[in-house]
């Protein structure tokens, strides 16, 4: 009994540690500038107008829309492009499969810097001559686009699959019993039928997990927008805007915290709606890896 109480006491203390920063964000966001510097915790008066002030000072609506676009399209891209790849790794036996899969996994440990520097230059150019070369030879005509300063360098790669999502999906696909797939095969179905009729319907939780992970990842991403979107004030995402907000707007902590809240609220809502998916997804990568 005593052990249980002690156990709970420690856990509650740890919970407080995790909770207090959030409480401080909320309270500070509602304080006056002067009060944010003091020890008084309860806002006096409650400055609901702080949120209005934040929206007035920066184009928060546009940044939210950009972030939403970035996160949403990346999510679609990753889901669409990873399912078949994971299937090929999980449910088809072919020579060299493990070796290629190792290659996929090894890209997980690539430092992003090794690709962002060259990719930045490539995206910044009046688009890679080779893409224009390809497009002009397949009848699309020469393409002239300048991608840096738009969301494209962040979104396009997502449509060409992502190692983490492939890994997570593969882990899940492997748990599907062979008998279910054999049933389709007996009916004369091939891999596409198995994928459509068995694997995808059974894997909805895993697909949901990679979708949500990707969404949150892109929503929170800072390095990518910092490198690719800096040039265009119109294209910034919330993470970038928030970093500029504190750095350049000569603003007070209360407004910074109000902006932070606006940034975090979608994440918190998604988290509470889909907690189980996240926890199962995380568990799948960590424990069965």
């Amino acid at each position: 009994m005593l052990v249980t109480v002690a156990n709970h006491a420690v856990l509650i203390a740890v919970s407080l540690m995790f909770l207090l920063p959030i409480l401080f964000i909320v309270l500070t966001a509602l304080m006056t500038d002067q009060q944010a510097m003091t020890t008084h915790l309860i806002p006096r008066p409650w400055m609901w107008s702080n949120f209005k002030a934040v929206f007035k000072q920066i184009d928060l609506l546009r940044y939210t829309w950009n972030t939403f676009l970035y996160a949403g399209l990346c999510t679609v891209g990753v889901v669409v492009s990873c399912v078949t790849v994971a299937y090929a790794f999980a449910r088809i036996h072919w020579r060299g499969r493990n070796l290629v899969f190792l290659l996929v996994l090894s890209t997980l440990m690539l430092p992003q810097q090794i690709t962002t520097v060259p990719l930045f230059v490539v995206w910044a150019r009046d688009l890679p001559t080779w893409i224009s070369w390809v497009t002009s030879h397949v009848g699309l005509g020469a393409v002239h686009m300048q991608f840096v300063g738009t969301l494209k360098p962040l979104i396009i790669p997502a449509f060409f699959s992502d190692a983490f999502s492939i890994f997570l999906l593969r882990q899940f696909f492997m748990t599907i019993p062979d008998e279910l797939c054999d049933a389709v095969r007996v009916d004369g179905g091939g891999h596409w039928q198995i994928l459509r009729q068995v694997v995808i319907p059974l894997s909805k939780p895993a697909i949901m997990a990679i979708a949500l992970f990707q969404f949150i990842y892109s929503w929170n991403d800072f390095y990518g927008p910092l490198v690719y979107l800096g040039q265009n004030p119109q294209a910034q995402t919330l993470s970038l805007a928030l970093s500029n907000f504190r750095g350049m707007h000569h603003v007070q902590w209360n407004l910074t915290m109000a902006a932070t809240m606006v940034f975090m609220i979608p994440v918190v809502i998604i988290f509470f709606l889909a907690q189980r998916v996240f926890i199962e997804g995380i568990t799948l990568t960590g424990v069965k890896g």
Binding site: T129, V148, G149, G247
Partner: protein
């Protein structure tokens, strides 16, 4: 089957290799050089894009109002004004855009830090041909303007108002401490700083006389060295921080004051106020420091914040053995120029000319922002409404010994970080041999510059 697969992979690999090769080639070719000068006789409607880094809404509005005269004068030119949200990242992102071939027609930047690079890499076009055509003379600005708008003989930018730095002092505190006038020498500054400091019972600092630490609010080691007549580079363009005695004197002075406060006491104080520079909680405005090195804009901020501080301004003190330096200081501020690859360079020039010389524009902007008007005509304008304390900064701007620091180089001003971070280490007491340290700073700066210019 296996062979086919191998073939397929070989094909894909070859394609990838070809692609990366193409990328290398694509990356290799720079943009084409723009050829300025052509008479703009046509009055067909034109839209030009202007990037500026003012972020506060009142400043943005102030700029919009100030360019109204331009719109009137050139009704066929439409201005597309884009405020850039982060002035510290402004230049690097502009460079990215110029290299990507998507530059604005006109750029306005807060700082001349990259002017050397702009000129050396032809990122901004040389305005000479336009200036010659329109008999545009540089002598309408103070001589200091040349120190940060031209490099390697290329006039790639023009000043739009400027910043000048000096000493703010709290008159009430001075009176209370029995000090009659602002310090003129560095030893007076030291004595006054000590006299004006108030400590709490636990030894921590309640009011600091003067905070000699990097970036409080704007000061750096180079500004101390300026009081001794110190410069970064010798006549051959080699860094000589280790050999010019000004630097060792300046840094020794700085360390003496830091040690008097106690390093930990002064850094605690610093940590409390350094990030409040741009708020109404700023240390000088709230009476937490008696003297402060700051830019001329603080006069406007004090007025805007309705800060209850009775203050005066003066040039920064000079070293006791260098009285000739008194009255000069660091200057340099907003610049405008035309990026390479601008769509409408001729119309852009009209705007650049307007921004840098229109008295109405400069006066209106100077009144709004509290920056130093750059042309002689605008500084003399009767329409200028600036507080009496402002005169100090106009004088510093016009002083022939004033100039921009750190000096322009072909690779930007990043090299100054080396000195600044050495200074941070020095005042913390982690450097045993000052002279050796400064010599190392020289070497590191020379290497950094060499790394930037390449073979």
């Amino acid at each position: 089957m296996k062979r086919r697969l191998l073939l397929y992979f070989a094909l894909v690999a070859a394609l990838a290799l070809a692609a990366s090769l193409a990328l290398v080639l694509a990356a290799g070719c720079g943009g084409k050089k723009s050829t300025p000068t052509s008479t703009s006789g046509s009055h067909a409607p034109v839209t030009i894009t202007v990037w500026h880094p003012w972020t506060v809404s009142s400043e943005k509005k102030g700029f919009e109002n100030a360019v109204a005269g331009f719109r009137q004068q050139y009704p066929w030119i439409t201005l597309k004004i884009v405020p850039y949200p982060n002035s510290d990242e402004f230049d690097t992102n502009l460079i990215k855009n110029i290299n990507a071939g998507t530059p604005p027609d006109v750029m306005i930047s807060f700082g001349p830090d990259y002017v050397g690079k702009y000129a050396a890499d032809n990122l901004l076009i040389d305005l000479k041909p336009y200036m010659d055509r329109d008999s545009f003379a540089m002598d309408q600005f103070a001589p200091a303007a040349l120190s940060y708008t031209a490099f390697q003989g290329k006039q790639v930018a023009l000043p739009v108002l400027t910043d000048a730095y000096g000493l703010y002092y709290n008159k009430d505190m001075f009176a209370k401490a029995g000090i009659s006038s602002p310090p003129k020498t560095m030893s007076e500054l030291m004595t006054d700083a000590k006299k004006l400091t108030v400590r709490n019972s636990d030894g921590s600092i309640a009011v600091a006389g003067f905070v000699p630490l990097l970036d409080f609010n704007e000061i750096g080691p180079a500004d101390f060295a300026h009081a001794w007549g110190g410069t970064y580079f010798d006549a051959n363009g080699q860094p000589h921080i280790g050999t010019d005695p000004a630097w060792a004197s300046a840094l020794t002075w700085q360390k003496q004051l830091v040690d008097w406060y106690g390093y930990s006491a002064i850094t605690d104080f610093y940590g409390t106020y350094v990030d409040k520079e741009w708020t109404s909680q700023q240390a000088f405005e709230t009476g937490k420091v008696a003297m402060c090195w700051d830019g001329e804009w603080r006069t406007a901020m004090i007025a805007n914040d309705k800060a209850n501080v009775n203050y005066g301004t003066a040039p920064f003190p000079a070293a006791d053995d260098h009285p000739e330096m008194y009255g000069s200081g660091r200057v340099g501020g907003t610049i405008t120029g035309i990026p390479r690859g601008a769509q409408h360079p001729d119309e852009a020039w009209l705007l650049v000319k307007y921004l840098s010389t229109s008295t109405d524009f400069l006066v209106s902007l100077a009144n709004g922002l509290g920056n130093v008007p750059t042309t002689k005509a605008s500084a003399a304008s009767s329409a200028l409404h600036l507080v009496p304390q402002f005169q100090t900064f106009i004088d510093v701007w016009n002083n022939p010994k004033s100039g921009f620091s750190p000096p322009l180089t072909a690779t930007g001003s990043g090299y100054a970080d080396i000195l600044n971070s050495f200074d941070e280490k020095w005042v913390s007491g982690k450097v045993s041999d000052l002279q050796a340290g400064l010599t190392q700073v020289d070497t590191d700066i020379a290497n950094q510059l060499a790394l930037g210019t390449g073979p």
